[in-house]
């Protein structure tokens, strides 16, 4: 079973400390391609969460049967098979959702983050923990991709939530900047994604550095008071 402390640690790792996009910098290929707007980024992340939870669970359950020397091909086999099965099941049973998420599911195969977590975590931990690790890694990806997609969309086109009508028919995208905003092509193109991702990494490091400085200050004053 899984303890609360373990779960908290897994969640903190996935969402912040080991965040896939801004700490591990993994899975950049789909990240660049998809985060031209917010909705796409969120959709890719949702599909990734599903696949990562399943593959984490499956690999962890089978980890004692997988010889060390051939673990990578076996992982690839498991992940690829699961992605395809998820794709088929979605198409068959949740066709409406498939129309929206469908194009993102094959993209997950190109996402090395799935393989990375399987190798780094699921290979050494029990199934339930591995499943949650997959979910929270996906959640970490969700918020970063949503932020990156939102920024790129806002700077590049002046809108937010474009394409939302595909997910929830009837909802309209928001026009945040004036309608005659010329748009900034750079933000939509891959270099814009790199620049903004760099800014986000810097922002995260700045927060960490500030927190570390505060901790340092506290221990210093505590020591000074003690002496």
């Amino acid at each position: 079973m899984i303890t609360r402390a373990e779960l908290r640690q897994i969640a903190a790792n996935g969402v912040w400390k080991q965040n896939t996009s801004i700490v591990q910098i993994l899975g950049l290929c789909p990240l660049l391609a998809v985060t031209t707007n917010l909705v796409n980024g969120v959709m890719l992340s949702l599909a990734t969460i599903i696949v990562m939870a399943l593959s984490g669970f499956a690999v962890a359950a089978l980890r004692n049967f997988i010889p060390h020397e051939i673990r990578i091909p076996v992982f690839i086999l498991i992940v690829a098979a699961l992605v395809t099965v998820v794709d088929l099941l979605f198409n068959a049973n949740l066709h409406e959702l498939y129309n929206v998420l469908g194009i993102f599911i094959p993209l997950i195969v190109t996402n090395c983050i799935v393989l990375a977590r399987v190798e780094a975590f699921a290979n050494k931990n029990p199934p339930l923990q591995s499943m949650f690790d997959g979910v929270f890694m996906g959640v970490g990806m969700l918020w970063t991709l949503a932020l990156l997609g939102g920024l790129r969309e806002l700077i590049g086109a002046g809108t937010l939530f474009s394409g939302i009508d595909m997910v929830f028919p009837g909802l309209q995208p928001l026009q945040l900047l004036p309608a005659d905003y010329p748009g900034l092509l750079l933000a939509i193109l891959p270099p814009g994604a790199f620049i903004l991702l760099g800014c986000m990494i810097a922002w995260k490091n700045w927060i960490e550095a500030r927190a570390a400085a505060r901790r340092q200050l506290r221990t210093d004053t505590a020591l000074a008071a003690g002496n």
């Binding site: 051939i70 091909p73 498991i78 098979a81 395809t84 088929l88 198409n91 068959a92 049973n93």
Partner: protein, 223 residues
């Protein structure tokens, strides 16, 4: 003396891993084929349903009683229809009598590339409906060709084609009003309707010229 287990030879190791990998491959291939076979009927059904939903918009279901998706004929790529690949024509019949043909057409000269259309022509040559299935026209300007985006909900622009035929509308009237024809258009976006009108006219003409071949139950080899 205790019996020490012998270190496995390289050949043994290699065989062992190969067998394990093979077992994994068999298992997951089995899982894949199982999932494929299990989901196949549902996937085919929803694809058919999607097609039917589109066809319902150009031809009411009450007009025919045959299984339209099964009663098809393949037509070769044709410049008249703007199709560069072979395409399927659906044939609607009621009580064995020909009712209508549903076919694809492409307007190659839209404002922003190709506009794909679904056109239904009934047995006496009149259009029962036209729908745009795919286009890249300017959002908010040229996209009134889609009834969903058209501000006129009572009588969307694309509904103007309903009931028209080559007999009732002469060739020179298949134009927007601005060019001396009979079709409305929205000021500032006339390239789009021009392209569609031309494509629909050509599709109607294609059906008129090929109707016997298209309705034939035993279609000959496409020429």
């Amino acid at each position: 003396m205790t019996h020490k287990p012998k270190a496995p030879t390289a050949v043994k190791m290699a065989t062992r891993t190969a067998v394990i990998l093979f077992v994994f491959v068999i298992c997951f291939t089995g899982l894949l084929s199982g999932a494929y076979l299990w989901t196949l009927p549902a996937i085919e059904a929803s694809a058919a349903e999607e097609k039917m939903k589109l066809i319902d918009e150009v031809l009411p279901r009450s007009a025919y009683d045959n299984d339209l998706l099964k009663d098809t004929v393949q037509i070769p790529a044709s410049a008249v229809l703007g199709l560069d690949v072979p395409s399927t024509v659906f044939r609607a019949r009621k009580g064995g009598k020909d009712v209508a043909l549903v076919l694809e057409a492409v307007a190659p000269d839209g404002y922003a590339g190709k506009i794909r259309l679904l056109v239904a022509v009934n047995a006496d040559g009149a259009l029962t409906g036209v729908r745009v299935t795919q286009h890249k026209e300017t959002p908010g300007l040229g996209d009134y060709i889609e009834p969903k985006k058209d501000k006129n909900k009572e009588r969307p622009w694309i509904a103007q084609f309903n009931g028209l035929s080559l007999l009732t509308v002469s060739e020179r009237d298949w134009k927007v009003k601005k060019d001396g024809g009979r079709f409305d258009s929205v000021a500032g976006a006339t390239v789009t309707p021009r392209a569609i009108i031309k494509a629909v006219y050509k599709a109607a003409k294609y059906v008129d010229e090929n109707r016997d071949r298209l309705y034939a139950t035993q279609p000959g080899e496409p020429t």
